[in-house]
Symmetry: C2
Subunit: 155 residues, 2 copies
Amino acid sequence: MSIELEPVAVVRSSRHELIDDRWDGETSFIELLPHINQIALTGLDSFSHCLVVGYFDRATDGQLVRHPRGNHSWPLVGIFAQRAKDRPNRLAISVCAIDRIDDNRLHVRGIDFIDGTPILDIKPWMAEFGPRGDILQPTWSHELMATYWDDSSTD
Amino acid sequence: MSIELEPVAVVRSSRHELIDDRWDGETSFIELLPHINQIALTGLDSFSHCLVVGYFDRATDGQLVRHPRGNHSWPLVGIFAQRAKDRPNRLAISVCAIDRIDDNRLHVRGIDFIDGTPILDIKPWMAEFGPRGDILQPTWSHELMATYWDDSSTD
């Protein structure tokens, strides 16, 4: 069974290179493609956040198990236990803040997709669809995320 | 540009029909397909939650703007401002709790996909990738979600 999808939008971002960290320094918007009428965005600005599904078009299928970021001080974990871009189906998820809608453009803050990334879907963030109960995650995942958003230092 | 994806797993659920509400009464697991080795799940059980990307294989493309659930007491909103299954690319997202891994089966709680739904990706839930800042959403979305999970009454 094969599933064929068609991008609905594209990301325009100040980041053009594949760099993992410090995403908060970037500015971005999502632009609908010509075949999607901008009425599809109606009312999205009554939500503070949205969930965006992208396609890592410059990634590869990758391995089913690996050390996150190739760092051997972190455990060997399966691809479904990490967020690496080199994964089966190369799907990307970003939960970002909605700034404003400007015709067919959705301006967002905190989207971690580089310029040109094809977008397959946009959904409003509803708290009821978020994780329920206490969130537990391993130490390595917190270490990996330490400077993921932070743009305050430039080392 | 067309993107071709191949399911990596399938949902096995006690729910076989397209019903919107009271998902907490169901039991479900995700079963990897034979071409995906179970090592891909290694370490996922060190997380409490995961994000699952599915494909609404029994949905249609739908309209770009509609009243959520056809309810005219709620506003007319774009498809990207609601979670309806009849949407471009028919992608489904569920954030659910991880119960345990049993060989090639990932047992979960709170996944809102019916039996047989193809799965395209599984990612660990890391708090750092969740929404940042206060979450705001319109009243209609809270009303719509009122009995989405609840299985305590049977009206």
